[in-house]
């Protein structure tokens, strides 16, 4: 986990320090390293929503926003906005890829272990207990909902759901009391 965190920190540092001059060699270098490490992480940036946003940012924004001081085949655009958009696109790609690389290299268990170390005292105890109680909580919630669903429904839907929440919390508290007395 430490190695993954170090890699993430380095890549995030590079992303933050990107500018119009250094991006031309830093972005390809980082992309190359990430590709060699795990090419599957590139799936995160191949989503149409993200690609559409990037296209809008790099192609449309310089055409409509900023002072138009340059032309490409007769189409005038803002060079300042274009450069700004390219840097932003490079930065976003590096950040998303490095975050995905980090999360793909650590397991949920490692993350739970890591949370114990960041001043969350008794986290392992609480988390183990919550994992233990989860099936019962699910059963309590399911049973309360099914019982309440079969009752004649009132006109006021908010009152209906509020009463369901009251029953649910009462049962959960009873369960917690039973559990704490058995643990004591």
């Amino acid at each position: 986990m430490k190695k993954s965190l170090l890699i993430l920190t380095i890549f995030l540092g590079i992303a933050v320090s990107l500018n119009i001059k250094n991006q031309w060699f830093l972005v390809p270098a980082v992309l190359g390293i990430i590709f060699l490490m795990d090419r599957k992480v590139f799936r995160i940036i191949l989503k149409w929503k993200f690609l559409f946003f990037l296209a809008l940012l790099v192609l449309a924004v310089p055409l409509f926003a900023g002072i138009k001081d340059a032309a490409f085949y007769g189409i005038s655009y803002s060079s300042q906005m274009f450069h700004m958009s390219v840097v932003m696109a490079g930065r976003s790609i590096i950040i998303l890829l490095s975050l995905r690389l980090f999360t793909s290299r650590i397991s949920v268990e490692q993350l739970a272990e890591g949370m114990q170390r960041i001043h969350l005292r008794q986290f392992s105890q609480v988390f183990a207990l919550s994992m233990q109680t989860l099936p019962q909580i699910r059963t309590i919630a399911g049973t309360a909902y099914r019982e309440y669903r079969d009752k004649p429904r009132r006109k006021n839907i908010f009152a209906y759901f509020f009463n369901l929440a009251v029953i649910l919390v009462v049962r959960i508290l009873e369960f917690a009391n039973t559990l704490s007395s058995s643990k004591a």
Binding site: M88, S92, L111, I172, L173, F175, K183
Partner: protein, 224 residues
């Protein structure tokens, strides 16, 4: 009427003080944090997926409102600093377990919600005002969150792009900045109202639960 309400308020405060867990009562606190954290995580894993699948408008706000009610109810019973943060950490890790992999977005969103709620309640204490304020803040944060996230991913320049784009669009549509302000105020107002209702419910729910439990105890005594 006023005297009666004052009397009931004092009674309520005394009951709250008496029912508040004592310093040494860690095992009950631990169980309650685990149970409410599990409930929050379960809600995020089931209702969260359901709402996302349906793609209903303001689905994220509904989820935040539900989470607010759960965390505030949990905090009512666990009078310990850091308890909301712990419930949030449990819920966030449970959510990741339900997905089966580590995804930064929902994990950070749950942790941030818990952190903000923890800060507000730790400063203002457990009372109706702090609960309503927490609900309002969390719901308003759902509007700001995407902009903060985009600022982190794309950098500060994204705000320049947004402002420039808005300026151009406003020129084309002959709109004034006041119009955008009005729309934002209306949208924020709806969220704030929704959040204050969630906060109020978060305070009302444990009170109703207490009465319900008292009734249950009374009927159990009568039966025995």
């Amino acid at each position: 009427m006023a005297v009666d309400s004052l009397g009931s308020y004092q009674r309520e405060q005394t009951e709250i003080k008496n029912s508040a867990p004592r310093e040494h009562d860690f095992s009950r606190d631990t169980v309650l944090i685990a149970v409410f954290g599990a409930l929050w995580g379960l809600m995020e894993a089931t209702l969260g997926v359901f709402l996302k699948g349906l793609r209903i408008p303001m689905g994220g706000a509904i989820l935040t409102a539900m989470a607010t009610i759960i965390l505030l109810t949990g905090r009512y019973y666990v009078r310990r600093r850091g308890s909301v943060l712990m419930m949030g950490a449990v819920a966030a890790v449970l959510k990741l377990f339900s997905i089966g992999t580590v995804i930064a977005g929902p994990f950070m969103a749950i942790l941030l919600e818990a952190l903000f709620a923890e800060i507000i309640i730790s400063i203002l204490g457990v009372n109706r005002f702090s609960y309503i304020l927490t609900g309002m803040f969390l719901m308003l944060y759902t509007i700001v969150h995407p902009f903060i996230a985009q600022g982190l991913i794309f950098g500060d320049d994204i705000y320049t792009v947004y402002l420039e784009t808005f300026r151009k669009a406003a020129q084309l549509l002959k709109l004034h900045a006041n119009h955008l302000g009005l729309v934002l105020a209306l949208y924020g107002g709806i969220h704030a109202l929704f959040g204050s209702v969630a906060g109020w419910l978060g305070y009302r729910l444990p009170e109703k639960v207490r009465r319900e439990m008292q009734q249950l105890e009374k009927s159990a005594e009568e039966l025995s």
